[in-house]
Symmetry: C2
Subunit: 202 residues, 2 copies
């Protein structure tokens, strides 16, 4: 396999993260998720929680989060760039650096768009029908006060808005990815097989 | 394989038709394209040319085609339904009939939407980047007076409008299909392998 970078975008509850981890393990390459957040935190000065909350979910930061973020940010209010934009720029740099280090799997955070034009990138989108996602979310994260359907819709809607804002492309539109898989019908294991199979093509 | 019906939607020049034919051959099941047009022609009274021109490309029929179609249509002007709508209704009935006959491959014509909700249907979307599609169209259909880029855009745009009009869904949106493949990167043969592999899952 020549220096292959695999980006995985996913609907909430579709098992995209699990698939990404398993693909990385099977191919013996790094899987960047927590480490990516660590790097972004170190380079931006933002907290882990803030990066996880804002890093792929909102194009416009709420004034509450904005205040917390700015008050704890080393650059203070000097820079006029929005907090969300600063975070995006920092994530972009970290993602490019990680991809330059060699084969890896990167989940979410517009990595497909950030690495566009590179001939060594394989872009994947994982989705599933409501029933499969609801069952998965319930099993993994349990119940909350918010109805399940609303949680799924809200999370995906935020990812969609964030992606559109920074890429001017439509999140989940097939032509933005090399391979889109319905993990509900195909199954997580088979999705891993197919991705590894394509990644290992000469 | 349990009674599996495979629908293939595709960008113009992506090789979707070739992939559909090969999948049908490999699985030993019928491939409906010309035969579907024959059946629709027989049941609607419209000509083959008209069905091929309008059957998946336009939601609003031009007055010129409308006049030709109506003048040769056995029902004349009695019915107030538009020509495009009549054709869609007829195609819907034929597609449902064919799917009820057993496993098969059906290309285009909103078959994914028409057969939605059936547990035995596998919906595929084939696309590719501009360079691959342009090369394929040039090789298959040769040059015309219209620039290649314009031909590709126009054909896809018409399919998109037609699909949106009759399904209220977005053509090429990953979540409407079980599997979306970039045939340019993955290659036609590998696409066939992957589709057959999934179709043959228990």
């Amino acid at each position: 396999m020549t220096n292959k970078v695999i980006t995985i975008s996913r609907q909430f509850g579709s098992g995209g993260r699990t698939i990404g981890k398993e693909v990385a393990k099977r191919l013996g390459i790094p899987y960047y998720d927590k480490e990516l957040v660590d790097r972004v935190a170190k380079e931006s000065g933002f907290s882990h929680e803030f990066i996880e909350e804002i890093g792929e979910y909102a194009s416009v930061t709420s004034s509450f989060l904005f205040n917390i973020a700015v008050s704890s940010h080393p650059m203070g209010l000097i820079d006029t760039m929005s907090v969300s934009d600063k975070l995006y720029v920092c994530q972009t740099n970290v993602i490019r650096d990680l991809a330059n280090q060699g084969p890896c799997v990167i989940v979410g955070r517009c990595a497909d768009y950030i690495l566009r034009g590179r001939p060594d990138v394989l872009d994947i989108f994982i989705h599933a029908d409501y029933e499969h996602r609801a069952a998965r979310v319930l099993e993994r994260y349990g119940e909350t006060n918010q109805p399940l359907k609303r949680r799924l819709q809200e999370k995906d809607s935020k990812r969609k808005v964030y992606y559109k804002h920074y890429t001017n492309q439509n999140w989940g539109e097939a032509q933005n990815y090399h391979l889109c898989l319905n993990s509900g019908l195909i199954g997580v294991d088979k999705c891993v097989d197919i991705i590894c199979d394509i990644a290992e093509m000469p």
